[in-house]
Subunit: 477 residues, 2 copies
Amino acid sequence: MEMPPPDTMVLSAKARIVAALHGLLPADAVISDEAETRAYECDALTAYRCPPLAVVLPRTTAEVASVLRLCHAEGVPVVPRGSGTSLAGGALPTADCVVLGVARMNAVLETDYDNRFVRVQTGRTNLSVTGAVEADGFFYAPDPSSQLACAIAGNIAMNSGGAHCLKYGVTTNNLLGVTLVQMDGTVVEIGGPYMDAGGLDLLGVICGSEGQLGVVTEATLRILPKPEGARPVLVGFDSNEVAGECVSDIIKAGVLPVAIEFMDRPCIEATEAFAKAGYPMCEALLIIEVEGSPAEIDEQLALIKTIALRHNPVEFREAADEDQAKRIWLGRKSAFGAMGQINDYMCLDGTIPVSSLPYVLRRIGEMSKEIGLDVANVFHAGDGNMHPLILFDANKPGDLERCEALGADILRLCVEVGGCLTGEHGVGIEKRDLMSVQFAPDDLEAQLKVKDVFDPRWLLNPAKVFPLDATASRRAA
Amino acid sequence: MEMPPPDTMVLSAKARIVAALHGLLPADAVISDEAETRAYECDALTAYRCPPLAVVLPRTTAEVASVLRLCHAEGVPVVPRGSGTSLAGGALPTADCVVLGVARMNAVLETDYDNRFVRVQTGRTNLSVTGAVEADGFFYAPDPSSQLACAIAGNIAMNSGGAHCLKYGVTTNNLLGVTLVQMDGTVVEIGGPYMDAGGLDLLGVICGSEGQLGVVTEATLRILPKPEGARPVLVGFDSNEVAGECVSDIIKAGVLPVAIEFMDRPCIEATEAFAKAGYPMCEALLIIEVEGSPAEIDEQLALIKTIALRHNPVEFREAADEDQAKRIWLGRKSAFGAMGQINDYMCLDGTIPVSSLPYVLRRIGEMSKEIGLDVANVFHAGDGNMHPLILFDANKPGDLERCEALGADILRLCVEVGGCLTGEHGVGIEKRDLMSVQFAPDDLEAQLKVKDVFDPRWLLNPAKVFPLDATASRRAA
């Protein structure tokens, strides 16, 4: 028998899959036109791009199940997608995949203030979860910087955090249950609005699994009563290390601010030029916010002030009113945008024991000088989740490569001091090859075996999270 | 070939395994004498007993690995055991099993106050974890009633809670990492003293897995700075339902006491007769404790008082000093002992949404009357974790069976209102057949498949947690 030329084969396979998808979903829920699929070719890690074979935008759990069942039967890889805000390439397609976007599944399904939870479809954006309950005095705690856009589905996939997670925890601490569609189309309910359910608790392994185990279509989320008030202070220091020591001492003292944010001089300078928040020009500053009743706020801030003053700050500024509070936060919230105005940058996400902050900051400074690329630091210092921004020039040959090399070295340093590769952005494609720095072969094998259970054909979000050489035989099988 | 008689076969198989165990461990770490193994024939669910084939008491992770490797190769089931305080039969042996007790592995391996964690061997008792750090002002939060005796290994296996877990969470919220020995002897490190580590987070599924996935030999535990002070109040009500409504209102208001304990009249009466704590004779009482600085305590208690007074309590008693605080807790802490003095009882562990407390308490009262067995309620009301005690007479034919039937009905009720079978005691053998009330077949199958990964031959803690009919083919394979 004569074979058709290869590109005809690909085309006809594509046509067959697309036709089958149309048989399952309404016409407007399947995108296969090349110009339109291009909108899904990347996420927020824009250095990597690849248009998918097709995109589906289902509206119900049943539709998701039907798509997965088809792709499973046909051996077609599936890349789940929330809002596409991943900084680690978590939603990057492959050319032969169907992108399954949950953006149209954004309903609030149940609100229960007595038991303090909401149940939502996971295409709902992070901020609009709070939006649905704030008139009644509640909020959803995890607050990634992208919270206006990012979907709960992605928050669950990446176990997302945010500036205010020091006190309230990250996604895994606020997620009570999920509806998970497995690759073969099976729908399972995991957890719910109660404590520990008996049997094996699969919720923890689903949270942060980066779309490797299934598609989460519905989620039960813990909501919290809004605190009476909040007040930030800004503390400036004449060295990174002293600022790091101050953070460490606050944590050690057992004070629990909702946020401790850290910015170093390169970041302060860029931010001031951009946002004009009136920050002091110093080597490092901390923004520390506490919440509660006025009495609680006074008491916590007094303790924080005592600790901060022991480290001879060059500035200690307490917000006297709402307006001053906003100004204190303004610069921090503009920091990433400000850096983007003047530089290309790569944002890291390593996490370290808080007591290692001074050492790690010093080493990053040294490594930055050695390689000749500036590093600006702006991050959630309270929980040790660092976001060093390596500045480079994308138009200068070799700069990106040097930047990636420095990034890998900094992440190795994080692991070396007892930390880890990623606090909240996920591994994606960005850090997959560094996973073997973090995990011994047996540790990694235990993870791969769990992936095997949920997705025996390795079709879900392929070639992410795990080092390619460790998974090659599985993916080929 | 002529076959030896069956009991000789068993004997010689036992002799061979015991000899092999002696080859791996020091002489005093292997117990095979029938009189001595009898000490391990049950845990705190004493209605079920079965002496094991042998008991090993290893001292290191390497010794644990060598025992598991041997048992895996020989197809010998292994029942892991902490201190044997399980109320659900979690450590009940089978006749053909090796009990692997971790009691001798009780060292503190690392203490890090800067980053607020300790690393211990898991045979260490719960209370002695706090004991190791309290001189420096820290404590380990989960506090099961058995904390003087129970081991961290068992706490992790059952995801144990305790009276003070409303604020600080249960074991899973305070566990940072584990060293896990898998059934084939492979040792893996999971988690550690940092946030979310990237890749699949297996820590959540290990915690609460009741010895189904491996033996946890070392654990990294979050420790917290001791609060400045704590103060309980006692509030008496003339009905269970009103007390339940008060709990629900406190939770809804967003106050976060460290404990809200509930006792009903049968429990108050038994306790008073036994401990003479000076409790008011009323239908229901709450013990509510708050922690913090004196100002924080005053503020929280004022809010709690306002809410409580709206429900017309028959008594509102605030502890004025340390001595009065102790008296308030005395009765609660004696409650189980007091009930045991006058009755046989079965202690349930269902968990429900807090807002369902009034309804569930009323239904339990009705069901108790219908079947003719008294039920005393004493439990952690703040997180909806109920411990109804069904009173029966073990010497009266048929009483135990009626008690078990009522217990199952009460647990079904918990699931019906959106709760679950077990808050902190685990499923063990006690509730395995009720798991299908909680989980649909596909939900359960997802759990079984994860068990398959860690223990393909189903040798670890056999015939527990899952309904026997759902696992028969796997266990036989």
